[in-house]
């Protein structure tokens, strides 16, 4: 068990594993997207309060979930690199950050598109929206640090510390924002994510969430492959790999 884990923590084996897995992940997620979209857009009934606008949920909620999951992945990668000195952690953290940032932005924008017809305004300083916005800035800080430090390894190590500091701070930020938003406003008008949801709406949501998740994993693996190639430029196995791909295309 540990032997296999250890094997795939080495960049070379992880690269091969990632290459084998990505087509499957892309394929399955695209099929799930198809099913989820048909179910969510055609088969699920319109919400009795929100009408057809509730269908934004199938984009908004999966991307909001992913925005948090990606930070966990990033901080987990950072912890792997900091605590156990596993180089793969750096690769994963750097691969996850831009994905996390883009899904956070998507969640915010689709949230605004949903908020406008529901609340009559693009933005409310509701605890969840505000926390999501701050999450975006945490991602942007990580990305800015990565681009400011030229040496890739040094940047990844500094980023690992930042990601771990961030994950400790996220609950603190979230709960202080919750406290702040309940203090200054009367009970917020949150219609989103009502506790009970009809099964006919929930199942497509879960399918879409699963599709997003798999697509994210596929993207993560592709980006990790790029990072590995850059990190390991000088490694012998990369040179062998390049030679092989070169010959297969017949450019020599």
């Amino acid at each position: 068990m540990f032997k296999t884990l250890h094997k795939y923590a080495s960049p070379m084996h992880f690269f091969a594993l990632a290459r084998a897995l990505t087509p499957w992940l892309f394929g399955i997620s695209l099929v799930l997207f198809g099913v989820g979209l048909v179910w969510g857009l055609f088969l699920a009934p319109a919400d009795y309060q929100q009408g057809e606008s509730f269908r934004i949920i199938y984009v908004h909620v999966p991307s909001a979930w992913l925005s948090m999951f990606a930070y966990l992945v990033m901080a987990g990668g950072g912890a792997l690199s900091l605590v156990w000195k596993i180089k793969l952690g750096d690769v994963i953290a750097r691969a996850a950050a831009p994905l996390g940032a883009s899904f956070t932005a998507l969640a915010l924008v689709t949230g605004a598109l949903w908020g406008k017809p529901m609340w009559g305004t693009w933005w409310v300083w509701d605890a969840r929206l505000t926390s999501e916005l701050l999450l975006l800035f945490l991602y942007l800080g990580y990305l800015a640090l990565q681009s400011a430090i030229e040496d890739r390894r040094a940047a990844a190590r500094a980023g690992a510390v930042l990601a771990v500091v961030g994950i400790v701070n996220i609950p603190i930020i979230h709960y202080s924002v919750v406290w702040w938003s309940t203090l200054h406003q009367p009970a917020t008008i949150t219609k989103m994510g009502a506790p009970t949801m009809a099964t006919s709406m929930l199942i497509p949501l879960l399918i879409m969430a699963f599709a997003f998740q798999l697509f994210f994993l596929a993207l993560l693996l592709v980006r990790a492959r790029c990072e590995i190639l850059e990190f390991e430029q000088r490694a012998q196995w990369v040179k062998t790999l390049l030679g092989a791909s070169d010959q297969s295309r017949g450019t020599r």
């Binding site: 606008s53 932005a105 998507l106 924008v109 993207l219």
Partner: protein
């Protein structure tokens, strides 16, 4: 048939909110995918070029 298609596209009057949301979703997913795959292809090509015998990095 045409009427039901129009009903679907109108989204109960929320078309201007629902479709941009889905469009942005497709854009974010697609762009991430295309950019990542293109970056890998670029890296492989560039590094293979550098890896050719006779190519020396100064």
């Amino acid at each position: 048939m045409m009427a039901s298609l129009r009903d679907f596209l109108v989204m109960g009057g929320y078309a201007s909110f629902v479709w941009p949301a889905y469009g942005l979703g497709v854009l974010v997913l697609g762009l991430n995918g295309v950019l990542a795959l293109r970056r890998e292809r670029y890296l492989l090509r560039e590094m293979a070029k550098r890896n050719l015998p006779g190519y020396r990095v100064a």
